[in-house]
């Protein structure tokens, strides 16, 4: 580059400056572009590999047999996912109940009632709670929750669908609360003030103005949480008992059970690479991935649909 004198007010040597900048910039932009499309690449690769590895199982066992089969018995090469699906549904329902029971009131507390001091204290506490590793939850589940259930319900073993549901329900309270609080805060202040000015009490305002206004966000948060509950591995693996058989009666949450993640994590360790069992576990993973992805995408659509139909934030 030319050295410019003080009295040289003309444009700098354009070509030299531009070229050196442009090559650097092009390189950086190419890297950034690559970084941006990495996520597309990864999600495509994940779907590709799970489809590829589970294809054999779907072909050998049969697509509907593996999805709707009533029995999961790897030593006899019987692979039917129905017990796993039933277990997952049971766990998700109970866990979601606990989750909503605490998570949404907590969000209301944070957005409506908490003073600056308690907020300052509670927000970091919730974030820390969200950061507790799932294996630690599982460890506490085994040594505290399972022992407690065993004793109080006189069960053969405390490892049960109920134990998994309680643990997962508690684990994902912070996730639900964080999103719900954002949704509740997004409702404009004018609405609440209008309601209060009409003589409504604070609770009436929350119940009839704030919650309906935030409903799209809250419902989306619940759907996302269903995905998280179904996809959680380590805590569930350690406390559900991991026996993939149909509970009888179907709603028997005190029985041992299995869910998608616990079957994969529990059995993948000792399975022969390339066997039909191996591919069936990939098939379980594939079904799980499809369910979670559908839930994730539908959360956005549901939010948009509710907003379009009823308004809200």
């Amino acid at each position: 580059m030319n050295v410019r004198k003080d009295d040289d007010m003309g444009p700098p040597d354009k070509r030299a400056v531009r070229r050196s900048r442009r090559y650097g910039d092009d390189f950086v932009e190419a890297f950034l572009f690559f970084a941006a499309i990495t996520s597309i690449l990864v999600i495509v690769l994940i779907f590709y590999f799970l489809t590829y590895e589970s294809f054999l199982a779907f072909r050998e066992v049969g697509f509907f047999e593996i999805l709707l089969g009533q029995k999961w018995h790897p030593p006899g090469d019987v692979f039917g996912m129905m017990p796993i699906i039933v277990g997952s549904v049971l766990i998700t329902l109970i866990a979601l109940f606990i989750n909503i029971l605490v998570g949404i009131p907590l969000a209301i507390y944070l957005s409506e009632l908490a003073g600056p001091w308690s907020r300052e204290f509670l927000k970091p506490a919730i974030e820390l709670l969200a950061g507790v590793p799932s294996i630690v939850y599982g460890f506490l589940g085994v040594l505290v929750l399972v022992v407690y259930l065993e004793k109080s319900f006189n069960m053969l073993t405390g490892r049960s669908i109920l134990a998994g549901a309680i643990l997962l329900g508690i684990m994902f309270i912070p996730a639900l609360t964080t999103i719900c609080e954002d949704a509740l805060r997004a409702v404009p202040k004018e609405f609440k003030e209008g309601s209060l000015a009409l003589g409504a009490t604070h609770w009436q305002t929350v119940r009839w103005v704030t919650l309906p206004g935030a409903s799209s966000g809250i419902i989306a948060a619940v759907i996302l949480n269903v995905g998280r509950i179904i996809g959680e591995t380590m805590a569930a693996l350690l406390v559900v008992g991991n026996v993939a058989r149909m509970p009888s009666p179907l709603f028997d949450a005190f029985d041992r059970g299995a869910i998608f993640t616990s079957v994969i994590a529990g059995e993948m360790g000792e399975v022969a690479h390339g066997s039909i069992h191996y591919h069936s576990l990939f098939a379980v993973g594939f079904v799980l991935l499809v369910i979670v992805t559908v839930l994730n995408i539908s959360a956005d659509f549901v939010r948009a649909a509710i907003q379009k139909k009823f308004g809200g934030y």
């Binding site: 900048r21 910039d25 932009e29 950034l32 572009f33 690559f34 970084a35 941006a36 499309i37 990495t38 996520s39 597309i40 990864v42 999600i43 994940i46 799970l50 590895e53 009131p105 907590l106 009632l113 308690s118 509670l122 970091p124 506490a125 974030e127 820390l128 709670l129 950061g131 507790v132 590793p133 799932s134 294996i135 630690v136 460890f139 040594l143 505290v144 004793k151 109080s152 006189n154 604070h202 609770w203 996302l224 996809g231 959680e232 591995t233 009666p249 028997d252 005190f254 029985d255 993640t261 994969i264 994590a265 993948m268 576990l281 993973g285 799980l288 991935l289 979670v292 992805t293 995408i297």
Partner: protein, 424 residues
């Protein structure tokens, strides 16, 4: 001045006592239940106080107080009172006695006295509190507000107790295992003796590797999406992909690594780092994007107006302004990578006591598997019944929890510090 009504207040106090004591019994399941006579007396007292105050509510003499008794309210109150007295009478007549034991609908659980009675009492005392508060406020909206908001406050208390409980239990049981040797020596005899040095080492390298992959890719993607991309179609697709990646269960990442990486690079530090890095990618992209979005456009325009190129603007203006947010995301990513087990179970770890092999003393051998805190803990949990590893398991859990929570704490502090300092 509002007249103080002693009857509902007294019944609230009694019901609170029943509630707290029965929750205590429900949680700790003591062998002997000494409080049964008090509970029965308390229930009957609540019934008496509530019905007395319900009857006296009409004696106000004002006309509008007569409208209070709609059919719904009367029947709800009657049902609650019937429930309370039924529980009390069943206990008095011994139908719910210490030898109670029944199975229900074929569920594989046995319901015993020590569980059933406290459960009935919890429900009963909630009902009593509800009615008492309603009576106290004469069935106005204000009463309902007090009732609901006290429940809402209860959820906050529950959360604090939960976090405090988790931390204190692990601290209390685990602190005995912690010593300098525990932290600096490898484990012996399947974790019954020795420490967790190799696990700490392995966790460190796995996290470093994961951040080395996810930090440049994640921040780069966020910069591209926020600063460069003109093509809104691409942006949309990437956003959807990031959303999907964010939801992919950790065990699926493990399967992906097993199918994709283990066949080529084997069970190794490298495979684990790549998988953890990819898993962290969406978190870092989302937090960095948040941070970049919060940088006001006027800063960019100012920089461009001075003749800076796009990359110069990003490098010298946008990134420094967004650094606290980006940093918070990275630190949270470190904590997540340190606490995940499922993605690396089959791709990166073994239960080994040999330290990581180093080239030149500081470059780890990435083709070898390592041990990891989470995986070590998992193995100890599996050994719990068979070998005497409980003490070491609590110690490992304590180290892991302390590590992850302190990293999270740092993230929170960084964010709060800069949030106070920066104002656009």
């Amino acid at each position: 001045m509002k007249k103080i009504k002693p009857a509902p207040l007294a019944s609230i106090a009694i019901a609170l006592f029943i509630l707290v004591s029965s929750i205590y019994h429900l949680l700790f399941q003591p062998e002997e239940i000494a409080l049964v006579p008090f509970w029965v007396a308390g229930l009957l007292g609540c019934v008496l106080l509530i019905s007395a105050s319900a009857l006296s509510l009409n004696r106000g003499g004002e006309d509008r107080s007569r409208v209070i008794w709609t059919r719904g309210r009367v029947s709800a109150l009657a049902a609650d009172l019937a429930y309370l007295s039924a529980v009390a009478l069943l206990v008095v007549y011994g139908r719910i006695g210490p030898d109670l034991k029944f199975e229900f609908l074929g569920l594989s659980a046995v319901f015993t006295f020590g569980l059933v009675l406290p459960l009935l009492l919890v429900v009963g005392s909630f009902l009593a509190i509800k009615d008492s508060i309603n009576l106290l406020y004469g069935y106005t909206a204000r009463g309902r507000e007090v009732l609901v908001f006290s429940m809402v406050r209860l959820s906050a208390v529950f959360t604090i107790i939960l976090l405090g409980g988790i931390i204190s239990v692990i601290l209390y049981r685990g602190i005995g295992a912690i010593s300098w040797e525990f932290l600096t020596s490898p484990h012996l005899r399947l974790g019954q003796q020795g420490g967790i040095a190799t696990c700490i080492e392995g966790t460190f390298w796995l996290v470093m590797g994961a951040m080395l992959i996810s930090a440049p890719l994640g921040i780069g993607a966020a910069i591209y999406l926020n600063e460069y991309s003109k093509n809104s179609g691409l942006k949309r697709i990437v956003t959807i992909a990031v959303g999907c990646l964010n939801g992919v269960p950790s065990v699926v990442y493990g399967l992906f690594g097993l199918a994709f990486l283990v066949s080529t690079v084997g069970i190794s530090l490298l495979a684990g780092s790549i998988i953890l890095g990819l898993m962290n990618l969406p978190t870092i992209i989302l937090t960095s994007q948040e941070a970049l979005k919060s940088v006001p456009n006027s800063l960019r325009e100012g920089s461009v107006a001075l003749g800076a190129s796009r990359w110069q603007t990003v490098k010298k203006v946008v990134i420094p302004s967004a650094l606290p947010g980006v940093l918070t995301g990275l630190i949270i990513g470190v904590a997540r990578a340190a606490g995940e087990t499922a993605p690396i179970m089959w791709t990166a770890v073994t239960f080994s006591a040999t330290p990581v092999h180093m080239f030149y003393g500081f470059v780890p051998d990435v083709t070898q598997p390592v041990n990891n805190l989470c995986y070590h803990l998992l193995n100890l949990i599996y050994f719990l019944g068979a070998w005497d590893v409980e003490q070491n398991a609590w110690g490992t859990a304590l180290v892991l929890l302390a590590l992850v929570l302190s990293i999270n704490m740092v993230a929170i502090l960084v964010r709060n510090h800069y949030r106070k300092k920066i104002s656009w």
